[in-house]
């Protein structure tokens, strides 16, 4: 099996692998929902004071919270996913086997991560969204048009790819540092802050907001949420998706460069 068929097979197996942890999935949905309720009320208090902060109204703010909880695991904001397997295989040396497989290593792990993300979207993405809609039904907002809905889905897919490439780069530091725990923690901290998970980037003050919106982490949550909410429509939707695509390509390119450098290093070590 070669080509797209192989990668679909990898993604399907990854999907099934994650679907075996049923109790963990249910526990995760419960936890995401509890945090969703807490943040919703906190944001409502904030928007009660400043009704149009960041161009959002209270309904946008509450919906944003639940999109965030839905994407937390799907986009693997904190880290995790197949790149954790990679980091472990670099540490124990098994990656040498991966590097000499007749399949590109980057495509292999990306396919697996997309399978994982699909499972998390259908469970830990969908369920909290529905719960958020049930609990805050007078405030919660579904996408306003088919274009916004399709745009949000495309944006979430790009978010997973950007996040994957970023996690791949942080995991790759294992090639040089051997223990990538510190680098991965740093990656998680940056993602948490600059993705808009901690606070919507649109209410960041001044220049910090401009910078944060341009960085790749904005692809994780802020961009999909803005498309969902209709804050980005028409040309804004195109530029939003375009920036995500650009970051995905640039970061995947960086991954290839890092892999090329790492491959030489592994050969030298093994030789």
């Amino acid at each position: 099996m070669t080509g797209p068929g192989l990668h679909v097979a990898i993604a399907t197996r990854a999907f099934r692998r994650y679907s075996t942890y049923r109790a963990a999935t249910l526990a995760g949905i419960f936890t995401n929902s509890v945090f969703g309720v807490i943040y919703s009320y906190a944001y409502l208090a904030l928007w009660d004071q400043r009704p149009h902060a960041g161009g959002y109204d209270a309904g946008d703010a509450v919906t944003y919270v639940w999109i965030g909880q839905a994407l937390l695991m799907t986009v693997a904001v904190w880290g995790g996913g197949t790149t954790d397997d990679l980091a472990e295989r670099i540490r124990n040396g098994d990656v040498a086997v991966d590097l000499y497989r007749p399949v590109g290593l980057l495509g292999w792990y990306l396919a697996g991560d997309l399978g994982r993300a699909a499972y998390h979207l259908l469970t830990r993405g969908l369920a909290p969204t529905v719960i958020g809609w049930l609990v805050f039904h007078d405030l919660f907002r579904w996408p306003g048009s088919p274009v916004a809905a399709a745009g949000a889905m495309a944006s979430i897919a790009l978010a997973v790819v950007v996040s994957f490439a970023m996690r791949f780069l942080f995991a790759s530091t294992s090639f040089w540092l051997l223990d990538a725990q510190g680098a991965r923690l740093l990656g998680g901290v940056l993602a948490l802050f600059f993705s808009g998970m901690m606070l919507p980037l649109v209410i960041f003050p001044g220049a910090l907001r401009t910078v944060a919106l341009a960085l790749p982490w904005a692809s994780y949550l802020q961009t999909p949420a803005d498309i969902w909410l209709g804050q980005r429509a028409g040309w804004g939707l195109v530029t939003g998706l375009g920036l995500q695509l650009l970051w995905a390509l640039v970061l995947l390119g960086c991954c290839q460069l890092v892999l090329a450098a790492a491959t030489r290093k592994v050969v030298v070590q093994g030789g």
Binding site: A24, L26, A27, Y41, A45, Q49, L185, M198
Partner: protein, 272 residues
């Protein structure tokens, strides 16, 4: 857990011995230790950065100023920080069940709970306590300190650590039944920490009541802090609640002992 430790000192000495070993182990990779310690402080500190950024656009949240919220934030952070440092490893019960290591622990002459809690003791979790102390210290300037307020503050730290301690153990016990549901506990431990970082006035009255009378998280910081700040209860609940934290803490200890015993009794090894 009727077994006795074979040497004097009892469970506390056992705990110190196991924890000490893990501290020496973690310090073997010093650079990694410090990176993780500083990183841990950054992760938890970001919560407060988030609150601070919120205050760029507002003056009060739920009727409370940033220093007042800092007091709430620091107090709950201290409570969960102490509990997490001392017994945070109890979250790994599910791993012990799956790997069969719980069986090994059961035959050792040291109380099971001590072993589970001291296992992989992580000194780097001190960073959360330090970070919470810094915020609490900053916020404490706004308190008009009297001897009785100092006493209540001390009582608050002891009680909130105890309450979080119990929540960690009780909800980790779920893993005796379903070993891969460790995240369930997070809703109550870290979720409890998150909810108490905000003034409870931002939540509906029913939620605050259940945080008082069902899952006593409001005693972690809310009621004692109202006393420290000299504020009347915004929900009009009786003033004596502000001094009542030891009562729910003790009740929770009793419940925790019961749940833990039931969990251990229910445990069946996965071993073949």
């Amino acid at each position: 857990m009727a077994e006795r430790a074979p040497w004097p000192g009892g469970p506390l000495a056992d705990y110190r011995a196991i924890a000490g070993m893990w501290v020496r182990a973690s310090l073997a990779y010093r650079a990694s230790f410090w990176v993780m310690t500083v990183g841990g402080a950054l992760v938890t500190g970001l919560d407060f950065v988030g609150l601070w950024l919120m205050f760029h656009t507002i003056d009060t949240l739920g009727g409370f100023t940033l220093p007042e919220i800092g007091l709430l934030y620091g107090a709950t952070g201290l409570g969960i920080g102490v509990a997490d440092l001392l017994i945070g490893s109890v979250e790994r019960i599910g791993v012990h069940v799956r790997m069969g290591t719980l069986d090994t622990m059961m035959v050792r002459p040291v109380p099971l709970l001590v072993q589970v809690c001291a296992d992989r003791f992580q000194l780097r979790r001190l960073s959360r306590i330090v970070q919470a102390l810094v915020v609490f210290g900053w916020a404490a300037w706004s308190v008009d300190w009297t001897p009785s307020r100092v006493l209540v503050a001390l009582m608050m730290v002891v009680c909130s650590s105890t309450i979080f301690f119990c929540l960690f153990v009780v909800f980790s016990c779920v893993q005796f039944w379903t070993s891969d549901a460790s995240e369930f506990a997070n809703a109550f431990t870290y979720g409890g920490n998150t909810i108490t970082q905000y003034p409870l006035t931002v939540f509906p009255r029913e939620l605050v009541k259940s945080l008082t009378f069902v899952l006593p998280l409001a005693f972690v910081n809310w009621y004692p802090c109202l006393y420290l700040l000299g504020r009347p209860d915004p929900f009009g609940l009786p003033d004596w609640l502000q001094l009542a934290a030891p009562v729910p803490a003790l009740v929770l200890v009793a419940v925790t002992a019961l749940v833990w015993r039931t969990g251990v009794r229910h445990y069946t090894s996965t071993g073949s």
